[in-house]
Symmetry: C2
Subunit: 734 residues, 2 copies
């Protein structure tokens, strides 16, 4: 899933539930995240005396000074070379960095890497789960049985998968800030959208092969233009059984030690042939050693380490809570639904897996915010920054009121939360037909406008992705969609109240089940051809359509747009503007020797292979194939697949399977390559430990660990379990 | 459901889910609740100068001084006569109070009242839902179709219902406090249990007709012995259809305006004949007027208005959250289960209704704790009391450390929460067979001990209720129990982790579903005769039993008892002792011109019939029969039953149906009578508005409202809809 680049979309793709993502972690639904604080305490040589004084005060205040070794998700054009040299005794040169950048692959919500000269791309099994689901039938469930292509000819196209490779980064800060200077509210938002659309369109061009994003860094402190080569023909080469890829299932998710072979291989094609790749990562056949420096590239989706205390409190007391309750109820519903037959079992699996992952992530995030140590540190950090600003009159005049302005906007966010989330972001209508209908109805209204005037999700630069999703031939299961829609409508009635005018308008005199059944039973939007015709027909076709889902979306469109407009005017633009002021104040004090919050763009993390101390017990960094057999109970989700059982005698049971490192990664990094100093692939990131779930808000080097599959383990499995010798040899460069 | 009178039971009856209660609201799972603060700001004439100073400071601190008109759940032997006189211009005399006390009926978790000289008792429909469920079959669902006895001979015995009538209150404070003086930890707990058991047993005697409770008031500031006449033969006379009793269903629950006929009539028998009642409440045929003073008797289960800030924070950040997530998931599961057939639809209804009510209550409570106004007031109140204590050296020496001691115990409560809740309180095994097995296994260990040495829930004084529940012939549905157990086991594995030794011991190499299926499939505890035989057979029979649920409970018994012991030693006894210190300090300052937190014992509330201002819109106090027809959509849960539709032309559509008053009530007050100054019944409490859900922690006279059925409305319905003229005439005293 793409990072939400639309301005008001607080749940990524509208109508698509937050949890239906392929990546392991979840990003925050809000687009804006504000000022950066912990960097204030990192070691710097050119501090001003006033800052020094403040810092002394803060250190005294915190008692234990902050030590954040290995912390940071750095941009590839601004790596912390000095810090790496100091902590690891080694830092990369430009050639290493260039190769790291060009071997990285962006996989729409996941990360990946090129691993052979013939276009083979390595990512996680859970990053191709949607593809496996889409290629499955009632007779052949690829999630369950896995897939190995019979040579390149047998590789199967993933209906909705695309790969992007970053080719160039350029600075457009001046273009953006000059376009919005002096503007407020709606005018600010419009100008901001317009300049970004213009820059994106100019960069993308019309070859059909490039994609460009204006990436906002440091919360508006910098804007960079990222130019990608775009690949749309992606074919599945190998995926193990889910029983192996996700061995231990939800109970072991974010748990460690782990024994998962969470890998998959796809191949990128252009014009019907595998592409030729120059910068790819050769597999290291041994895997890394304990304590060895390792590096991760990838697309961490979103961190919110810079939120103000007021913003954090809203998340803690309202939005996270609400999302958790909705998820818990849907989890019960889906779990019970799946017990009603073999087909419900199959069609509900992917949704449930995504949902359970999301549910655990939310719990981890909320737990972090309920940890007094974390929250009190956030409060102290904020107080310190505000004191620094107060001590500098010019800064104080400009940015002194920023925190209070954000706090006021947060009050409005709380008031708006339910209707905005339910109506504009579609959580009151969660189902795929609604998402299609929203795209069709809104697209019909937006597409005739000049590019710069459109809602950002309908900019020319975004159009290819919009159409890819809209025309995807992936199957839609009416029974499952009706289930989700019934619950969503029930939750909407509950949250807005049965007497709310929009609830009365949507439900009339019927129950949520009756309304959902009529909508799902009546819509023809499950057919991609119907969607294509409505898209091509534009506003006239929409106006003439009697499809009940189109009519529903049309009916609520004025309410939805009004909510979005109010959100943009009173929350988003206010927070964006004041967040930029805080960022500016920080740059004045600290420069950019700090890393920006994650935004879904390519980043580099450094660290070492290391376990951790869990309440006095040392957790070792590696697990082995032998450990997997020990943990096997034969019962789901602790049942190894028969391929493993059959291969047991052939395997080297002492070979490493999974491992942990100190790399600072987060949702979106799923599928990221782990590199060694030689630029070889030594691992494949697929998870974090339970402590990493607080990483949205803070990184703790003592406890935060990321979890990876070992390169030697992948080769062992391909060779001896899956008889995938051709692929294994290709990975070895043979 | 009874209030938990056991010391460590943090969820009422062990193994019984918190939500499976008949009353409208939910009580707090913890037994202890600490010091009282808001009373500090009520007007008093004999304040000390130091207190005056503190109060001036506090009032300044709060900016808006606290005004708590109509607040309070007062004991019948200590009503706030001066305050009532001042606020209402009227106060009851002793005869009025005596009659109010003896006409009140305690209905095991609900409230009720005697309303005819022939033993007729009025309560809520939702308070007899379990009886209706138990008297239903697959062919005849009394919850759906209602019930009207064909004369007294047709009244049907409710298998598990009992009625208690309070006869006497006596003070035993000196007995209790002298028994525990100077003791700590386990010794304190044992002595406390023993003296209460002894007092209870001596009072109960052996006539089989009395029941006695030692009631703790002001958190240990007072102990009173409440002596009840106990009636075990309770028969159903009338209940409307659930579609009328709970019109609007979950969406309208805690909503107002309302149109519910949430009433039921049962009759109390002794020796096969209806009892003769002297003190009963005659129906007022007109109902009360707007602004009229009204009074409510009943058994509010639990308020926690006196918790320390540390205790409130645990609820906000951990226990309420956790309970909500478990409930949300089960709600999804049960809702989906009920769609799978007519029988699942029926057998899951009662559980789901209770659960949805509980879920809404928890949300309301958490919302109150997330309200900065509420929480900041609690903090300011606590600071004020602590400053008062600090200003008085003798008090400071004795009670100055109490808050910190409680805060430390709360840290342990957080650590213990999951295992204690899952293992000892049984939320990891939620199902009725487990509850039976726990009673059997633990009872076999406890019953041979001297009364004073037993766990309190097995004291002689409690034994009748234990046996009534254990031998109840109410049906148990294996399919439903397996569903709940599967989810509970899954939640246990999730919360304790798959590697926790007790999880491994319970699940072995199987999945939660497999284990649940084996336990539910194998147990014979659904048969009351099997339970009776095991109970009578004692420890030998338990040791010999191969019933899988008995074996499971036996296997986890050492863990469960160890958790309870640690909880009692490090949390409960510490908080009890320090809470008593705070109560003592408060008595020194304020005397007892304040009301004690609710404890499930009989209380009196005063107030007036009044609507409220909802965000600028005046909500009127009364609704009418005509309003019900206007709200009827014909679709569940807004579908009036056919009996109403048929009676429409006969009804006076302007007659009042429901109404709101300012009475301060809470869960346990369901079924409470509303009295006028003449001691007539003018209403039947069945709910609170949405603002009342914060009443666990604070009462706000501007917004808190309780919801009642109007006496005139009840008569109108009995006369014209249900053709229940004999009952209506009996209520009119004709």
């Amino acid at each position: 899933m793409e990072m939400p680049r639309t301005k008001a979309s607080t749940s990524g793709e509208v109508g698509r539930p937050d949890w239906s993502q392929r990546d392991k972690f979840r990003r925050w639904p809000t687009r804006r995240a504000p000022p950066k604080m912990q960097g204030l305490f990192t070691s710097r040589s050119h501090r001003t005396p006033a800052l020094k004084k403040i810092l002394a005060f803060v250190v005294a205040l915190l008692v234990v000074p902050s030590v954040w070794s290995a912390e940071g998700m750095w941009t590839l054009d601004h790596p912390p070379l000095g810090q790496m040299k100091k902590e690891l005794g080694w830092a990369p040169d430009q050639a290493w960095l260039d190769k790291a950048m060009r071997s990285a692959a962006n996989l729409a919500g996941c990360s990946a890497s090129f691993v052979s000269k013939n276009g083979l791309v390595l990512t996680n099994h859970h990053c191709v789960a949607t593809c496996l689901d889409q290629l499955s039938t009632a007779q052949s469930n690829l999630l369950a049985i896995g897939f190995l292509a019979d040579g390149q000819a047998g590789e199967r196209k993933c209906p909705a998968m695309e790969v992007n490779r970053l080719e160039q980064i350029s600075d457009v800060t001046a273009d953006v800030t000059s376009a919005t200077r002096g503007l407020e509210g709606t005018a600010y938002t419009a100008a901001h959208n317009a300049v970004r659309a213009k820059l994106g369109a100019a960069c993308t061009g019309d070859t059909g092969r490039m994609r460009c994003d204006v990436v906002e860094l440091y919360h508006g402190g910098q804007y960079k233009l990222y130019r990608y080569h775009h690949f749309q023909d992606v074919r599945l080469a190998f995926a193990p059984e889910r029983a192996s890829a996700a061995f231990g299932g939800d109970p072991d998710n974010f748990n460690y030690p782990r024994y998962d072979l969470d890998m998959a291989l796809v191949r990128v094609y252009e014009e019907g042939r595998p592409i030729t790749v120059v910068d790819y990562l050769p597999f290291n056949t041994q895997g890394p050693a304990a304590g060895e420096p390792v590096f991760v590239t990838g697309n961490p989706g979103r961190t919110e380490r810079e939120l103000t205390v007021a913003q954090l409190a809203t998340r803690r007391d309202l939005t996270l809570m609400d999302a958790l309750l909705r998820a818990a109820e849907l989890r019960g519903t889906l779990t019970e639904f799946r017990t009603t037959g073999a087909e419900p079992q199959r069609i509900g699996e992917n949704d449930l897996n995504s949902l359970e992952n999301y549910y655990k992530v939310l719990q981890g995030q909320l737990k972090a915010l309920h940890d007094p140590v974390v929250f009190e540190k956030k409060q102290a950090d904020e107080a310190a920054v505000r004191q620094y600003v107060a001590a500098h009159p010019a800064l104080a005049k400009k940015a002194g009121g920023a925190w209070d302005a954000i706090a006021k906007a947060e009050k409005t966010r709380r008031d708006l939360h339910q209707p905005l989330s339910l109506i504009e972001n579609g959580s009151g209508f969660t189902n795929r037909y609604f998402a299609f209908a929203r795209t069709l109805v809104r697209g019909a209204g937006e597409r005739p406008k000049p590019d710069g005037d459109r809602l950002p999700e309908f900019n020319d630069s975004a159009m290819r992705r919009v159409e890819a999703r809209l025309f995807s031939p992936a199957p839609v299961y009416p029974q499952l969609e009706q289930l989700k829609l019934t619950l969503a409508l029930t939750q909407m009635r509950e949250r807005l109240g049965p007497d709310a005018p929009i609830v009365k308008r949507v439900l009339g005199r019927q129950s949520p089940l009756q309304v959902a059944a009529a909508l799902v039973g009546g819509t023809r939007l499950g057919d991609p051809a119907v969607r294509k015709a409505l898209w091509d027909g534009g506003a006239d076709a929409i106006a003439r359509s009697d499809d009940p889902m189109i009519r529903l979306v049309t009916a609520i469109e004025p309410d939805a747009r009004a909510l979005r407009a109010r959100y943009e005017r009173e929350v988003e633009s206010v927070e964006q503007k004041n967040t930029e002021l805080i960022a500016e104040a920080r740059f004045a004090a600290l420069g950019d020797t700090i890393y920006p919050d994650a935004t879904g763009s390519l980043r580099l993390s450094y660290g070492v292979i290391a376990g951790w101390d869990e309440g006095g017990v040392a957790v070792p960094p590696f697990t082995t194939f032998g450990g997997a057999f020990e943990r096997n109970t034969g019962t789901e989700p602790f049942a190894l697949p028969v391929s493993w059982l059959a291969a047991r005698d052939r395997l080297d049971l002492t070979k490493p399977l999974d491992m942990v490192s100190t790399n600072d990664i987060i949702g979106g990094n799923s599928g990221s390559p782990m590199l060694n100093r030689e630029g070889e692939l030594v691992g494949l990131m697929f998870d974090g430990n339970i402590h990493s779930l607080g990483g949205d808000f803070a990184y703790d080097p003592k406890l935060n660990r990321s979890v990876a599959v070992n390169s030697a383990g992948m080769l062992e499995a391909l060779d001896k379990i899956y008889d995938a010798k051709a692929l294994a040899n290709e990975l070895r460069g043979q």
